[in-house]
């Protein structure tokens, strides 16, 4: 097998640990991300995604562990890492009282770009922000704000993008456009680590890393995850899905029962017990087996955490 060599890893960290007071937020996390890869970071709120990302770009110092980011030590070389990383915070953190252009020119200045105006102009065109260049950032809608934030963190042509829930609260169309841009840039060799709660976004990542309790629980491509977890899913359609879902949630062998409009998804690890539960609850639904959805996999994983 011809795997990537160590120097091909843009992120290569081992046993990272971070405590806030008595709370262990990241607990022995090891992660490798290859050059040009789009790696999705998933997990419940508080699973350590943001803390890990902040440690990778030197905003937090790990309590234990070591590693490199872009070949630079994450503890010793944090200032140098910052020059080559684009970090997009979860909250919009540009200046709302500056215009789009003014914000970008500030960033260009901080990164000491040789031709700040030219760089900003080029990026305004590329990100289709030209028409809004003189609008105050605070007056942009959610989708445009995210686009501005992304523009700000790619302006200095970083080698690695760290995006912390970049599309939270943004409508579907804007999210799709955002991801098209990310794929576009990854095609040019940019490595991307992106945290998200959206399953459709997870499916657009080459690899998904699922965190729980500050550790990586499972990782792989979306297809691999589906296969590895081995979840069985049935879909029931017809009248009375609301009654059926209530009964099935309590039934043994059912790990997740979720209503999607007029359809009900029931998922579990044990096919026989799942079929038994469906038979037992009666009702007039028409049932068929469907391929498991990534969301079912994650609800299953979340359920395991609670158990």
């Amino acid at each position: 097998m011809n795997g990537p060599k160590p120097e091909d890893y843009v992120i290569d960290v081992h046993d990272l640990r971070k405590d806030f007071g008595t709370l262990r937020v990241v607990d022995g996390l090891s992660l490798r991300v290859a050059r040009g890869e789009i790696c999705g970071f998933l997990g419940a709120n508080g699973s350590g995604k943001t803390t890990t990302i902040r440690m990778l770009c030197g905003l937090l110092v790990p309590d234990a562990g070591r590693g490199t980011c872009l070949g630079l030590d994450i503890i010793r070389d944090a200032p140098r890492i910052r020059r080559q990383v684009g970090y997009m915070t979860q909250r919009f953190s540009l200046y709302e009282d500056l215009t789009v252009r003014e914000n970008l020119e500030l960033v260009a200045g901080i990164y000491e770009l040789s031709d700040p105006r030219g760089a900003v102009d080029a990026m305004l065109d590329r990100m289709e922000l030209r028409g809004r260049a003189s609008q105050l950032a605070g007056q942009l809608s959610g989708g445009w704000k995210q686009r501005l934030a992304l523009t700000a963190c790619v302006l200095h042509r970083p080698a690695l993008l760290l995006l912390d829930e970049p599309t939270a609260g943004v409508d579907a169309r804007a999210r799709r456009a955002f991801w098209d841009l990310i794929h576009d840039m990854a095609g040019g060799g940019l490595t991307v680590l992106v945290s998200t709660h959206y399953m459709d976004e997870a499916e657009r990542c080459a690899r998904v890393v699922y965190l729980a309790g500050g550790r990586i629980v499972v990782q792989g491509s979306a297809g691999e995850l589906l296969a590895r977890v081995g979840l069985v899913t049935f879909e029931g359609t017809g009248d009375g899905v609301e009654d059926a879902v209530r009964r099935l949630r309590e039934a043994p062998g059912v790990e997740a029962a979720t209503v999607f409009g007029r359809a009900l998804h029931v998922a579990g690890m044990d096919r026989a017990r799942l079929e038994e539960a469906i038979r037992a609850q009666g009702g007039g639904l028409a049932w068929q087996e469907v391929p498991p959805r990534l969301e079912d996999v994650f609800i299953h994983l979340l359920g395991q955490e609670d158990g």
């Binding site: 902040r54 770009c57 030197g58 905003l59 937090l60 110092v61 944090a78 200032p79 910052r82 020059r83 990383v85 970090y87 915070t89 909250r91 919009f92 953190s93 540009l94 200046y95 960033v107 901080i110 990164y111 700000a152």
Partner: protein, 372 residues
């Protein structure tokens, strides 16, 4: 839905109370502020100041002279000490360490005995008329202090008087309070505006700080960028105040305006440093502003702006000496009214510099490059 629902009101009151309790810093300041005000007003402030520093020049201390000096002390207004030379007396009054210089002419006792009614020259620092007013007035009651010491032949005679006090009000002969207030005002206005503005500087970064930290900026760059505009604003204020003071209020300018501008830059820097420090220490904008208000009060009241500095008790003067506003005020009065130069203001300049350096050290110590 009634006009006023007790249940709704209770829910809102509870929410307000919870929010107040979640901000213990604010609560502490709410308690500390009136305590401090009362202590300062109650103990430190005295608009009829006593124990004012007084230098006494005597060629060779004689009997009458000692009696007069003792009488000065007994009024409670004068805290006397001997000065050795006229130069020392002059420096003391220029730098504000002495408010009075009492100068006995040579051969004083003989002149008294001969009935020549010699003059005792009392130089007063007129820059703060309220500080020296009561003490000066008290001189008129001291005409007969020598009564018991005089030779028997002269006792009981109304004329000629044994001696006279000749009061010479320096720097502000007409004793205009405006001459005292305006230089003080320059410092207070500068202090208030620069302190208030900078306390907002870093707390305004809340939310944007994470982004700023993730980029390759150095803390000192962030600080410098925040301070620089306010130095400009501060100088603009100085210019406006000085123009009004000179053109409308006819404030005399005896010293070098250039020197004054240079020194005020140091004073502005000290306030900015303090404001930035508050800004880094405070958890939110509200707290930073309260810290600023908390300091502005003593800075104003204990600096000699509203009440004579020398009239305060020792502990209050010690606190006052630690504050840049106190020294800045002396410098501005000294340069404008007394024509002081660099040598005379140096004793008040280094404390401001020291204060600034200490404050900057605290700010840099607490400004974090990481979010830890």
């Amino acid at each position: 839905m009634g006009m006023l629902s007790a249940r709704r009101l209770r829910a809102l009151l509870r929410k307000e109370w919870l929010q107040v309790r979640r901000d213990p810093m604010t609560l502490r300041l709410i308690i500390a502020l009136p305590v401090m005000q009362l202590l300062i007003f109650g103990y430190a402030i005295n608009s009829n100041p006593h124990d004012l520093p007084t230098g006494v020049l005597m060629a060779e201390p004689s009997r009458y002279e000692r009696t007069i000096v003792a009488a000065l002390r007994n009024t409670g207004y004068y805290r006397t000490r001997l000065v050795r030379s006229e130069a020392e007396a002059e420096a003391g009054i220029a730098e504000g360490r002495l408010l009075f210089v009492v100068d006995f002419p040579p051969g004083f006792d003989r002149a008294v005995d001969r009935g020549e009614a010699p003059s005792v020259l009392v130089d007063t620092d007129g820059t703060d008329p309220t500080a020296v007013g009561y003490a000066t007035a008290a001189l008129s009651g001291l005409g007969d202090v020598l009564a018991r010491d005089l030779p028997p032949a002269r006792r009981g005679m109304a004329l000629p008087v044994p001696f006279r006090f000749v009061v010479h009000t320096r720097y502000n002969p007409e004793q205009l309070t405006v001459l005292n207030v305006v230089p003080g005002l320059i410092c207070v206005v500068l202090m208030m505006s620069t302190l208030m503005l900078t306390t907002l500087a870093i707390t305004r970064e809340r939310g944007t700080m994470e982004n700023l930290l993730a980029m390759p900026v150095r803390p000192v760059e962030v600080m410098l960028a925040k301070i620089a505009p306010y130095i400009g604003i501060g100088y603009l204020q100085v210019l406006v105040i000085l123009l009004i003071a000179v053109l409308l209020l006819h404030l005399p300018v005896h010293g070098s305006i250039l020197l004054l501008f240079g020194v005020l830059g140091v004073f502005i820097a000290s306030n900015l440093a303090l404001g930035i420090t508050y800004s880094t220490l405070a958890a939110n904008q509200m707290q930073a502003q309260q810290m600023a208000q908390f300091t502005m009060l003593p800075f104003m009241l204990l600096s000699g702006f509203v009440f004579p500095f020398q009239g305060m008790p020792r502990w209050a003067r010690v606190i006052g000496e630690g504050m840049p506003t106190t020294h800045a005020m002396r410098i501005v009065r000294g340069v404008l009214l007394k024509g002081n130069g660099l040598a005379e203001i140096l004793p008040d300049l280094w404390p401001i510099v020291l204060f600034t350096l200490c404050t900057v050290a605290v700010a840099v110590r607490f400004y974090r490059e990481t979010l830890d």
